[in-house]
């Protein structure tokens, strides 16, 4: 079916009869100068005067053809050909990596689709994944298949965005149907074809592995492991927890279909903790999980020797801190007005205690910065706070964290780009039963490092759906891409333009040849 973008240009076809009429006088003859026409009047003339109608100049066909081609090309002809346009949606979830006879579900499915597409050589295929629908591959080549297999298992499937479900395309789905939630969400899409793969129905996998510092033992982690059963059969596994290749503990876990179990353990402090399930199953990728716990290692603090014992004791007692004498490797410095130890620690977060007078109570209500959480405020307000110095008011860009009336008590300043927390609060408590130093030091350290050290948790987890491997049949819908014969519109302008240019070049060459011939004849005549 042929259509035109700007049909008005077709009026140019009316030039064809005009061109024919303009050439009615016959071919443009060569001009031959003669001394006198009287000598030639009795010759047989070729014009109408000879009583015969001269045929039109044959060049009119070439010129009419050029005009017609240009007119049609400018009209923008488009043809709609029944070309199959197909979008293959690939489920690249973790369950598609389940290994079965012949390879993984994903590899087997892609090979199956590729073989089917090979029998449709004219089809225009694009490939998208359910994990990242916006990334598009233009064909299902071997490179595409390799990339899909390499990147699979990172994300669970999501419903394809409506904007990508073009109505003029067929939509195929390659999946194992293991994710019931996705299937429910995608129920209304109506894929024109569903290629379901997968037979295995048993799998247990690690869903979550988390660790936090043990508050009772600063050299250990509290570890929590969650294991799920993604199959349709009760499973029994042995969960093995290891730390830096040394096995920490192992425990046997029984799981009902669809259930999950949590196991807690204490592991020595290390840079990583690994969990694995024994024996392995068809989906090996979810049988192990590695947790990087390096972020939970104790921060090193360089303390000013001039600091009072209460501060030093609080630093040493903090579960997330370790006092070091080597200031070069410290992550944090604490100053108490002394000159040694921390004088050369510029360029790292610092805490500075002002101690230029004896501790004394202060007057006025406490005013907190909005940067301080309610929990932290409550902890400090429960203490009998006193001041041991006087802070300068915060300058531009500095934050007043705590003030008592007009008197600043804690100020966050910047020094060489790093935070400098200054406080005028005294660490000596008026109440021997409620020491100030531990809570104050913990608060100041959190402010200096911009983190809640005691609440830090390292977690690695995967979606609970990831371990589900039971395949389900998915019915192909009443294709929204009902265009079983999708029409592809092709722009036919370029070939017509090329043809018109060729005809014009032909005309140009003809005129050039005629000019050269006439010039040669004229030169020959004049000589």
């Amino acid at each position: 079916m042929l259509s035109f973008a700007t049909p008005a240009w077709l009026l140019g076809l009316l030039l064809v009869p005009v061109i024919r009429w303009l050439h009615r006088g016959g071919a443009q003859l060569r001009s031959v100068p003669v001394a006198s026409l009287a000598l030639w009047r009795k010759t047989v003339t070729a014009g109408p005067s000879a009583g015969e109608r001269r045929p039109p100049d044959p060049a009119w066909r070439r010129r009419a053809l050029a005009a017609a081609l240009l007119s049609v090309a400018l009209a923008g002809p488009r043809s709609a050909a029944p070309v199959e346009r197909l979008t293959l949606w690939v489920d690249d979830s973790l369950s598609m990596l389940t290994r079965e006879a012949g390879g993984t579900r994903l590899g087997t499915g892609l090979a199956k689709v590729a073989a089917e597409l090979a029998s449709r050589p004219g089809a225009e295929v694009e490939v998208r994944t359910l994990g990242n629908p916006w990334q598009r591959q233009d064909s299902l080549s071997s490179e595409t298949i390799a990339a899909l297999v390499r990147d699979a298992g990172q994300r669970e499937p999501v419903k394809p965005p409506a904007g990508l479900l073009h109505a003029d395309r067929r939509h195929w789905l390659l999946t194992d149907g293991a994710d019931a939630e996705f299937l429910a969400a995608a129920d209304g899409i109506g894929f024109s074809r569903v290629i379901r793969v997968g037979e295995t129905t048993r799998n247990a996998g690690i869903v979550r592995l988390a660790a936090r510092r043990s508050l009772g033992d600063r050299d250990r982690f509290d570890v929590e492991l969650q294991v799920g059963n993604g199959g349709d059969t009760a499973e029994e596994r042995v969960a093995v927890l290891s730390s830096e290749s040394a096995e920490v503990t192992r425990a046997s876990i029984k799981l009902e279909p669809g259930a999950s179990a949590t196991m807690s353990a204490v592991a020595p402090m290390a840079a990583a903790v690994q969990a694995r399930l024994e024996p392995g199953d068809a989906l090996a990728d979810d049988d192990t999980l590695m947790l990087d716990t390096s972020a939970l290692l104790a921060r090193r603090v360089a303390a000013d020797p001039a600091c009072p014992a209460a501060i030093l004791a609080a630093l040493q007692a903090h579960p997330a801190l370790s006092v070091t004498a080597d200031a070069a490797v410290a992550d944090l410095a604490v100053e108490c007005g002394g000159t040694g130890g921390t004088a050369d620690l510029a360029g790292m977060p610092r805490i500075r205690f002002l101690r230029d007078r004896a501790a004394e109570p202060f007057e006025g209500d406490l005013t907190w910065s909005s940067n301080v959480s309610e929990t932290q405020r409550g902890r400090l307000e429960s203490l009998a706070l006193r001041t041991s110095g006087r802070l300068a008011p915060p300058g531009s860009g500095e934050v007043l964290l705590l003030a008592a009336g007009p008197m600043p008590l804690i100020v966050q300043r910047r020094s060489e780009g790093e935070p400098l927390i200054e406080t005028a609060l005294a660490v000596e408590s008026a109440d021997r039963d409620r020491p100030v130093a531990p809570l104050l030091v913990s608060f100041l350290v959190d402010q200096a490092l911009s983190t809640a050290l005691l609440d830090e948790v390292a977690v690695v987890a995967r979606d609970e759906r990831a371990v589900r491997v039971v395949p389900r049949d998915v019915a192909a819908g009443a294709a929204t891409a009902s265009g079983a014969s999708s029409l592809q519109t092709r722009d036919r302008t370029p070939p017509l333009l090329v043809a018109a240019v060729l005809v014009l070049l032909w005309e140009l060459a003809s005129l050039l040849g005629r000019w050269r011939r006439e010039r040669v004849e004229a030169e020959a005549w004049s000589s």
């Binding site: 060569r30 031959v32 003669v34 000598l39 009795k42 010759t43 047989v44 004229a522 000589s527």
Partner: protein, 299 residues
């Protein structure tokens, strides 16, 4: 249409001119070359150098013309009378129309050569010679004169003349009013006109002592070297004619040209005009000698 190169008008060399003048001298010795049927012009006294007769002296006569011997013999003043030199005047007329410029201007070259040779020969014999070049009208004129200096002036004029490649018709009749006194006229032209310029020749004949017509022509006038359909353009009028050029057309054109020559020759014979059809392929010396000889024998 390419412009023919007319700049190099190859006039005869001095040796060729002297040789031709010697050969033509006896043919031009008789002042009055008469063709059959031409009217007789009697010799009459006038200004000249050839002694004609004596008569009695009359007041106003030049003293230097007194013949003292006859005066002594007859005992009264007697003066010499000289033959009027007007009959020895020659005017060469040269066609400068565009038809003379076609096909490399070969006709123009030949006509210019012939005119120069005739002028030289006549001047060598002591005649007064003038030159008129005509196209749409009189395009150039060299008054009659004698001597080698005059020949040099004629040559300069010939060298400066160029036939216009297009748009210049022939009007020989425009030269007739320029003829004053008795003179013989030699016309070099292709006579390509509807009536072969017969009317103009008749007008000239009325005003001159004798008239010579040399029709300059060339074979390529009718063999254009082009085959097929062509648009023929008359270089003088610009008129166009679509024609299918083939051997037949060339033969018809050649026949028409021959018919024109025949009609012109017949007219000249009837009118006492010395006529020669000159194909430019033939040497100009041979053609001029033949023409003079034919004119003298006819006389």
């Amino acid at each position: 249409m390419a412009q023919p190169d007319l700049n190099a008008t190859a006039l005869p060399a001095q040796a060729e001119l002297q040789s031709f003048a010697r050969a033509a001298a006896h043919l031009l010795a008789e002042r009055q070359v008469r063709a059959p049927g031409m009217r007789v012009v009697k010799r009459k006294a006038g200004v000249g150098i050839q002694h004609l007769d004596h008569r009695d002296y009359r007041p106003g006569d030049e003293v230097r013309h007194i013949d003292w011997r006859q005066t002594a013999r007859r005992r009264r003043p007697i003066v010499r009378q000289f033959e009027s030199e007007s009959v020895s005047d020659w005017v060469v007329m040269l066609d400068l129309s565009s038809s003379m410029a076609v096909h490399g201007a070969a006709k123009w070259q030949a006509a210019a050569r012939g005119a120069a040779a005739m002028c030289y020969a006549l001047l060598e014999l002591g005649h007064r010679v003038g030159l008129l070049a005509f196209g749409r009208g009189v395009r150039a004129e060299c008054p009659r004169g004698r001597g080698r200096a005059h020949y040099a002036g004629i040559i300069r004029l010939l060298g400066s003349l160029r036939p216009s490649p297009t748009g210049e018709p022939s009007d020989l009749g425009a030269c007739a009013p320029r003829l004053r006194g008795d003179a013989s006229v030699i016309v070099f032209s292709d006579f390509l006109a509807d009536d072969e310029m017969r009317r103009d020749l008749a007008a000239l004949l009325e005003r001159c002592t004798s008239l010579h017509a040399l029709q300059v022509g060339q074979a390529s006038e009718t063999s254009l070297g082009v085959a097929g359909e062509a648009d023929l353009v008359d270089v003088e009028t610009g008129e166009r004619l679509a024609a299918r050029l083939d051997a037949n057309a060339v033969a018809v054109a050649a026949a028409e040209r021959a018919a024109m020559t025949r009609r012109l020759r017949g007219f000249c014979e009837r009118s006492g005009i010395a006529f020669t059809a000159w194909d430019v392929q033939r040497p100009w010396q041979q053609m001029l000698i033949e023409h003079l000889a034919r004119a003298r024998s006819a006389c």
